[in-house]
Amino acid sequence: MQVAQSRARVHATEVIDRREPAGGVVVIGLRASALAAATRPGQYVMAVPAAGETPAVALGIYEAEEERVSLLFFIAGKRTRELAMLRPGDALSLLGPLGNGFDLRASDRDVGIVAGGVGIASVLLPALELLRQGARVRLFYGARTAALLVERERFERAGCETILTTDDGTAGSRGFVTEALANAQMPKLLLACGPTPMLRSTAEIALRHDVRAQLALEENFACGVGGCWGCVVPITGASAQAPPFPPTPNGVVYARICREGPVFRADELRW
């Protein structure tokens, strides 16, 4: 766990492109050079709605290059439905980049990335960074059905090996992505983003094989910046004994997913 100095700002951005890689899945590209420059892999933004009718929503930063940032999201509620209506030329305020991001080192030569569902949005940037460093990157990618394995070609084009799974067997092997991971030759480092059960299994596999793992947790944020303590996860070890965490009577220390995270090491989570 590393707590980064916040470089977050409110960025006034403009939608420059939009596509739907699958039904209910949207990628919007935004002109946001300052945000792109400040973004590290695994960080996210809070998308601030123009009308002020709905709360801001946290979205992983999918791409960040030169003047363009893109966001990939699944339409899952009122807020994402509103975002899905944005078209090129529309304005969107983004607060970010937020969160600590993944801790990537040049020494990481053999990396497995585990992604499920919308978690794919947060793992392209670390994959690209690792590939640039010359690492072998395997993407273990699971979805409900083949059509929802969005953007897999993007990862393949970049040089990732992909290991696919679907719940219904329409692509890759049938079953959970973590089953595919458990059956594979173990990477030296695991990065994961996806639903909590997937992250838990990934953590178990990592701990069993004594492999380092960094998990990007998904949670419902209210403020997204550490102000409300609404998104927490119990942690343990050295991180739990340093400020801002005092010793607590029952030994449980809740860290803010939005602030101390969203990326945590598997061995510091106590779930």
Binding site: V10, G52, A56, V225, G230, V232
Partner: protein, 320 residues
């Protein structure tokens, strides 16, 4: 602060604010979290997250549920306890360009007095808010605000240990908020914050379970604004001390409702999660609103909606 010939400054029971806005307790961390992207020199003050005598881990997850036009929360007063707080946190507040109000929560009268005395002794803390109305703790967090006699006891105890401005935060989860307000005033409160969150619950219909780890939570956001406006209106008629009106304020028009109902300043909480620039926008909008009407200060609109009633007898406080 004078803008467009309008003085936006207010005096809340001795606490002088350059802007009539306070960032709601529990919504704004220690200010540091927002400092990178919100202009803290354009807000009146920040009410810090409540601190208790001993450290508290807070409630299990989930702690938040989005609702229609609102947010249910049950954080459970997670805080490091007053010892750690004084040692590691308080000195940071000296850097803030706005007023810092400490918030005290507790489980006994003695707790309140103890934490209040230690916190108020620090120069960085300009005033104290007594959180006697947290609905999200298993034991008697809110009991104080729901019982006029206990309210009076807590306020008297806190009054006995500090001369700094004491703001007492009232709960809407009572039958007669005006009665509680009167007791708080009589016991020595300098100002009242009206209101804290409204008790609520959400249920996951797929899993047949409460949505919040704590089952019950506090509802904030636009959904509670009319409740809050009426509470301010009723409290303003019952007491002479200033009121910080709060509950679902997102726009200038929302804030104006509270001033007209009788608030001298407004608290902004949940709206900061929608857009952290809202407090600044409200301040700018207020200056323009007042200037356009040839008014020179906030005080000229405070409580003016009360003029609709010639005397207290015409308004019985009963919607029926």
């Amino acid at each position: 602060m004078v803008e467009r010939g309008v003085d936006l400054g207010v005096d809340i029971g001795g606490l002088r604010l350059r802007y009539p806005t306070l960032m709601g307790s529990g919504c704004y961390g220690s200010g540091e979290e927002f400092a990178a992207f919100a202009d803290l020199s354009k807000v009146g003050g920040i009410v810090l997250k409540s601190v208790t005598r001993l450290p508290r881990s807070g409630n299990p997850m989930p702690r938040l549920v989005n609702t229609s036009a609102g947010l249910l929360n049950a954080i459970g007063l997670q805080n490091p306890g007053i010892d750690w707080y004084l040692e590691h946190e308080v000195e940071k507040f000296a850097q803030r360009p706005c007023k810092i109000v400490g918030s005290v929560a507790g489980f006994s009268v003695a707790d309140y007095a103890y934490v209040c005395e230690r916190l108020a002794a620090r120069l960085e803390i300009a005033a104290i808010e007594l959180n006697i109305s947290c609905p999200n703790v298993a034991s008697e967090g809110e009991t104080f605000a729901c019982d006029p006699r206990l309210t009076a006891e807590v306020v008297r105890a806190a009054r006995g240990v500090t001369k700094k401005t004491l703001i007492v935060k009232l709960s809407p989860n009572v039958t007669d908020i005006a009665a509680v307000a009167r007791e708080a005033e009589a016991a020595g409160a300098d100002a009242l914050a009206v209101i804290n969150t409204v008790r609520g619950m959400g249920i996951d219909v797929e899993r047949w379970r409460p949505r919040l780890g704590n089952v019950a939570g506090g509802l904030s956001g636009p959904a509670i604004r009319p409740i809050a406006v009426l509470a301010v209106y009723e409290v303003a008629r019952a007491v002479a001390i200033p009121i910080v009106g709060q509950g679902g304020i997102e726009t200038l028009s929302d804030a104006l409702e509270f001033f007209l109902a009788g608030a001298s300043a407004v608290g902004i909480g949940t709206a900061n999660f929608t857009d952290p620039r809202i407090p600044e926008r409200i301040a700018d909008g207020l200056a323009e609103y007042l200037a356009k009407r040839g008014l020179r200060s906030i005080s000229e609109i405070v409580g003016k909606a009360n003029l609709g009633f010639a005397s207290a007898h015409e308004y019985e406080g009963d919607a029926g």
